[in-house]
Amino acid sequence: MTATLHYLDRRDGHEPVAGAKTKRNPLISLKGVGLNFGSHEVLRDIDVEIGEGEFVCVIGPSGCGKTTLLRILAGLIRASRGSVSYRGQIQTEPARDIAIVFQDYANALLPWRTASANVSLALEAAGTPRAERKDRIAALLEKVGLSKHADKYPSEMSGGMQQRLQIARCLAQNPSVILMDEPFGALDAMTRQKLQDEILSIVSDSNVTAFFVTHDLEEAIYLGDRVIALEPNPGRIAELIDVPLARPRNQLTTREEPEFLALRRKLFDFVMRYE
């Protein structure tokens, strides 16, 4: 692994591509990242910078490595090549203020703890004093709309509620970055739309940086400031697309804007090439 500490370095063939927000405050920087599982090359030459408060979505056909990329950002896997910098430092293990929302929420929640207790886990891990915890948990559950279900077990909650609970636990980490791995993939369409808007408001409230993996093209455009399109075998960045749609986004009007439709066509064509 080669070490780099400067944000807008130009290295041969590895010019980091930045979006509008990035040029101001790059938070995460990936340079020449590649990953092999054994002899199988999963990711190659990933160069991207993500700025503070940016909402970046990642799309691509199955098997392009988007989940793997997310896990590298999380610090759960070490890249085989290249470097991952977070706040200017090489990342070797999960950082305290990076949170992950997993797709299989049922497996990511502690089934033997109530909703409040699940949120509490993150606070306990961070060493929050007991007296403070109660209020913070209440506030977080309020934020995701689960106040009435504080004493319920995950098995007593619907899929959407469980996912919200996972988001609440992530927020309890006071994260600067939230990584989301197809978080709404297992939910029905209506719940998905509701949660999309909720995540947008949460993210904008706290100026959190979001990294969102999905296979739903429209979702990627609806949510993101930028969309990273990965092509498979091995996973490489095919395109970086800016999403200049106005905020706040609206499920009805935004999705009918000509710009939205144009981007949708573009991404659709891209994915079609590989399916």
Binding site: P94, L110, W112, L121, A126, Y153, S155
Partner: protein, 257 residues
Amino acid sequence: MMRPVNLAWFVASLMVTVLLVAVWQWISNHGYVSKVFLPGPDRAWAALMRDYGSGKLFTEVGETLLRMALGWLVASVIGIALGAVIGISPVARTWIAPSLELIRPLPASAIAPVAIVFLGMTDNMILLLIAFGSIWPMLLTTIHGFSNVHPRLDEVARVLRLGRLERIYKIALPAAMPDILGGLRLGLTIALILAVVGEMITVQGGLGSRILLAARAFRAPDIFAGVIMLGLIGLVTNVALSALERRLLRWQPAAAV
């Protein structure tokens, strides 16, 4: 309180049992089966009451219960502790698990003769027998529970940066709890059986000794009285443990029928 239809079935079921007891009494009264082998419920009950009055019942039940409970407790503590250590460490599992698989099919009671050689016909021998026999389900299920924590939970622990001890106490242990509790329940069943076997062999008092001696003396009512008590012990401990299990595991999703 149960829903009315369930209550109806409960009562009906109870009546069937009562009916069977009545049939038993009838058979005994008319002598279709020799009273030597099948005393009527009335005589079994009389034997029970007699010993209850003299306090002998309490003593015997108490002895069996005490042995069972003590042996089971010791086995639980060792079994769970050991199981946790082995279950958590993949290295330990590779080296140790195959040996456990070799010992598993051995009938626990086969240890009895060996225990007698070393400890004689004593109380301690029975305790050793119970502990050795009942530890296996608890050990094995604990290992299974600790080694099958969902990888996602491991990742959550890493992302939240939980310490080693916290991981074991807050994630691995609760995750393994269903398996551990199942093992404890099975262990208790085995503990009761081995207590009876031990008492039969060593004739050191307790229900096991009682029923075997009664058999040798052809005192059938005494046998039945003892068997009834043993069945009761088995029933009560099982129900109690199941209730505890349900309480501790109330977070589990309702099982599909």
